[in-house]
């Protein structure tokens, strides 16, 4: 009795379909299938299943890889670099004061669109943080609705960062116009002692940037662009250290999961 004469097992039928059958059993399985139509049709059905599965998902592997899955974007080194760059900027501010850093100075040299956005965000911050009765259009009690609404109007999936770790709770948000005709999402956070920070967020053209800092009057802003979305975190310029911590907490939450829908538009 050689290998060809042993009865064919169920496992061997699967191994045959999956290319795992030892070569010396191949002929035995094939003649078994020819003689047993029921098994033959089962094997044919399994093959068809496998073909359908491959046909259904093969194209996923040939799609362009979304930017959020680029390794250089998620390596710890590159994120640490961005944060380090911002820390250097802030350290320089502590040492050198504000000379040459205000938005008004930049404006004199013909501001680029991003600088205009930062200026608008700072203006909005200054106007709304002093507002007592109507600081926001939609309150944090309707946070889910707020996020859906802002996502829809700004045009990409938008989540309000959780800044409880910084002692800040979400007050709510509102929709604002920008000078380039887009909509901006504007969120306000407040500490137990009443200090307010805002996040201004809108579509913006331009490559990804590191974190930057600018100040105008008494408000300071840390901002960056990631995948054509500008994020501008504003707070009191006299609390730069805390602003920096808040911006970093927001950045940590936003940066790892930039919404897919924001790509390339």
């Amino acid at each position: 009795m050689n290998n060809n004469d042993l009865p064919v097992t169920e496992d061997e039928l699967h191994a045959y379909v999956d290319g795992e059958l030892p070569a010396d059993r191949r002929a035995a399985v094939e003649s078994w299938l020819a003689a047993h139509p029921d098994d033959g049709s089962r094997v044919a059905a399994w093959r068809l299943q496998a073909d359908s599965i491959r046909a259904r998902y093969a194209n996923v592997a040939t799609e362009p890889i979304p930017p959020k899955l680029r390794l250089e974007r998620m390596s710890y080194a590159s994120r640490a670099w961005k944060i380090g760059a911002a820390a250097a900027v802030i350290a320089a501010l502590f040492i050198g004061g504000f000379a040459g850093w205000s938005m008004r100075d930049l404006a004199g040299n013909g501001p680029n669109p991003f600088e205009q956005l930062v200026a608008q965000a700072l203006d909005a911050h200054k106007i709304y943080v002093t507002e007592v009765r109507h600081p926001v259009e939609v309150g944090a009690s309707e946070a889910e609705h707020l996020q859906q609404w802002l996502s829809k109007r700004v045009g990409y999936p938008f989540r309000a960062p959780d800044l409880e770790s910084q002692g800040l709770h979400l007050v709510g948000g509102r929709l604002l116009p920008t000078t380039n005709g887009n909509a901006a999402a504007f969120l306000m956070y407040e500490s137990a002692s009443g200090e307010r920070f805002t996040i201004y967020c809108t579509r913006a053209k331009g490559g990804n940037t590191a974190l930057h800092y600018d100040a105008a009057d008494k408000a300071g802003a840390i901002y960056w662009i990631d995948d054509n979305i500008a994020y501008i975190i504003s707070g009191s310029a006299s609390e730069r250290k805390q602003l920096w911590k808040v911006a970093r907490a927001a950045y940590e939450q936003i940066e790892p999961r930039v919404p897919r829908a924001a790509r390339g538009s």
């Binding site: 169920e10 496992d11 699967h14 191994a15 999956d18 795992e20 089962r42 059905a45 399994w46 068809l48 299943q49 496998a50 073909d51 359908s52 599965i53 491959r54 046909a55 259904r56 998902y57 093969a58 194209n59 996923v60 592997a61 040939t62 799609e63 890889i65 979304p66 959020k68 899955l69 390794l71 998620m74 390596s75 710890y76 790892p256 999961r257 897919r260």
Partner: protein, 163 residues
């Protein structure tokens, strides 16, 4: 260790395909892949120099299992209009059928079948990914095939009548 990063990089398309087939949701799938990549880069020092691809599939498989566990504690969500979407993939537009059949499988059977059939892993490699003996992998694949066939046999006649 640039070879490590290049190896991870080159596995991304296949990881996306596997994750898509596991979850049937492009966003969830890419989140899974992203978490897999982050974890792989962070745990590079733990990689023992074996088969990198199997290691990545193992991470993704475990993350997906954790995801399903946490989902099980929440009420299920159903995408609106999912069933109405046209489907051109697969023979006779059967892509949606096979997708439904797969999603009806227990997680460990779906994982085993997809790793073998879609990703081309050997039974031995799947056994390593799932942390079970080869015999268990084979019985998972076998049970998955029986259940998919039963599902398709009950669904197909309805679709044929429409033609």
């Amino acid at each position: 260790m640039t070879g490590f990063k290049e190896g991870v990089q080159s596995a991304i398309p296949a990881l996306r395909r596997y994750a898509r087939a596991l979850t049937h949701d492009a966003d969830v799938a890419d989140d899974l892949v992203q978490d897999t990549l982050v974890r792989a880069l962070r745990s590079q020092h733990l990689f023992n120099g074996g088969e990198l691809r199997s290691w990545l599939y193992t991470i993704l498989t475990n993350l997906n299992r954790n995801r399903l566990r946490s989902l099980a504690r929440r009420p299920p969500l159903t995408a609106i209009g999912d069933n109405d979407a046209p489907d051109m993939a697969g023979p006779e537009g059967g892509g949606r059928d096979i997708e439904r059949a797969l999603s009806g499988l227990p997680e460990e059977q779906r994982t085993a079948l997809l790793l073998v059939v879609l990703e081309g892993l050997s039974y031995r490699e799947v056994a390593d990914v799932q942390g079970v003996p080869i015999g268990t992998v084979m019985s998972r694949v076998a049970r998955a095939r029986i259940q998919i066939r039963a599902y398709l046999d009950t669904e197909r006649p309805v679709l044929r009548r429409v033609k």
